[in-house]
Symmetry: C2
Subunit: 325 residues, 2 copies
């Protein structure tokens, strides 16, 4: 496909419009688009440079956009090229946040060394995952040094982003010590770095306390083979004043250098690829089954029984599954 080879060459040459078009291509579910997207990824992944993939999670209110803007500008100020990909599987009905991602990161979005791609309006978590993984590959081929993958919430999307990142960062707001219990161990255990934001003005003492609380909590967790001494760690930052941004960046580099040296970096990327292969197979199988006409008819009849209250949802499902065996 000549068209695909041209696109690949443009992306490798750093053409931002080509990159944006390519991400739109991988976001599409149309069959011909999927064929092209797979071919494009096949072409680009050969000898593509590796970016540092940083997963970043923070619930609404922690100042995530402000942090990404401040941190992103800090990196581009050092001559690094930064791509930001948003993952938001929660916007099931109308898609996207009330304000778009770009308007929330005004300076960074106008920086020639930065590339911000808002979350597509798509409800299907599997689709979001594939799109984001492929977009990461595209950004790496385009020569970005850092790919930030940001997500909201503490549910499945956090785990998903961790599964496609080299380093996972949890951004928190200052809080009272009694709120510590609210963070789940599952999330604590995937975090490599906890950053307590808003460590400025009146909130600074609370931020320091929160940092101390999480430092203590991290000690309760078992040591992971992939962590050098002192990690995972918690530190305070202020996106507003710039406090701690350089130190956080140093931490990320220390962590990634150590993991590369000790073989954990490669092992982690391999395991992640296998995980996503298995996920992609599952998603594909489900798409096929829902396209089967006889099965669809049986589904409809049983759905009617469920709606009428004749059968419980699970009893009806058991009948459906029996009919397929």
């Amino acid at each position: 496909m000549k068209h695909i080879e041209d696109m690949a060459a443009q992306i490798r040459a750093g053409d931002r419009r080509a990159l944006a078009r390519a991400i739109t291509l991988v976001e599409s579910a149309r069959e011909d688009h999927r064929t092209q997207a797979l071919a494009l990824i096949d072409t680009l992944r050969v000898s593509a440079p590796q970016a540092l993939r940083i997963g970043l999670s923070g619930t609404p209110g922690v100042g995530k956009s402000t942090f990404i803007e401040g941190f992103g500008l800090h990196l581009t100020g050092q001559g690094l090229r930064v791509a930001v990909l948003a993952v938001d599987p929660s916007s099931t009905r109308s898609g996207g946040s009330i304000l778009g991602d770009k308007t929330r990161m005004d300076l960074l979005s106008r920086d020639p060394n930065a590339f911000i791609r808002p979350s597509p309006s798509q409800s299907h978590l599997g689709g979001v995952a594939r799109r984001t993984r492929e977009a990461v590959t595209l950004c790496e081929a385009a020569g970005f040094d850092v790919v930030l993958i940001e997500t909201v919430g503490v549910g499945q999307s956090e785990t998903m982003v961790a599964e496609m990142s080299d380093i996972f960062v949890l951004l928190l707001a200052p809080a009272g010590g009694d709120e510590l219990q609210g963070v789940k161990r599952g999330i604590m255990e995937i975090a490599d770095l906890i950053l307590v934001n808003k460590a400025d003005g009146d909130l600074k003492p609370a931020a320091i306390r929160t940092q101390a609380d999480y430092t203590g909590a991290l000690r309760l967790l078992r040591k992971r083979a992939q962590d050098p001494k002192g990690f995972p760690k918690a530190r305070i930052v202020s996106a507003l004043t710039g406090l701690g941004l350089e130190e956080a960046w140093q931490d990320m580099q220390t962590l990634s250098d150590w993991r590369k040296e000790h073989g954990h970096w490669d092992a982690r990327r391999k395991a992640q690829s296998v995980h996503w292969f298995e996920q992609a197979v599952r998603t594909g199988l489900l798409a096929r089954i829902s396209a089967d006409k006889q099965a669809s008819a049986a589904m409809q009849a049983l759905a009617q029984d469920v709606a009428d209250g004749t059968l419980s949802p699970d009893r009806a499902a058991a009948k459906m599954l029996d009919s397929l065996s």
Copy 2:
């Protein structure tokens, strides 16, 4: 099954131990347990009374446990029987929060008119959904007036809980107006009632501002057929002082009475049942495919190619899906 009929009779008679045992049974994935659980649900759903199913979501730090304790005691104080079911699909690695749910709701857990069931340590969202739906049915059969289904986060688990609730409540902490943009429209659109907690002491002015902000934001959303005038609405509450708890309860009753009168209550429950039937079929199909030996072998070979970097995860998945057709 005599055993199942006995258990059903005990649950209907209000035996809490039988209820707890039955929830353990529906949580099990063992095939004989599934058969028994389906039979139990078939027995109990016949002429079971309908509880008010309230979905409640709030991220860590909003004071959710304190709210549930305060609100739960407010309801039991009126002679109502309240069951609390926790849904937490985020604890993927080690399961459960650092402190158990019951220790966070000390008074309510000792109230004879309350029943609190912590989230099981289970990572699979589909499994959590089925378990919770079936537990709701068991609690309704046991005669609880209110079933509170609580969840954390803003991801898929929130949508899941909304899909099994009559009313969906979003609990928030007081925040500055600039943080309003952080709440996704998707979540705003499934919320029937937004409660701004911690409206006491120093935080009260901020809570009032937050309430005003969300009241304004709710006005931006299109009107839903299932809402009476004035809904969805935002109000301030304090789990600490009890402020607004009775008003919130009145709101929930107004809403559910109106929906029952206008046919939306039944329509919603029917649509939910059909949704869960379809989900249960999908989950069951996937379980089968992963048990197929030939497919497993092909999967393993392709996974090796992915790990070696020979194939991209999605190219390998495409090959796998082709081999199955």
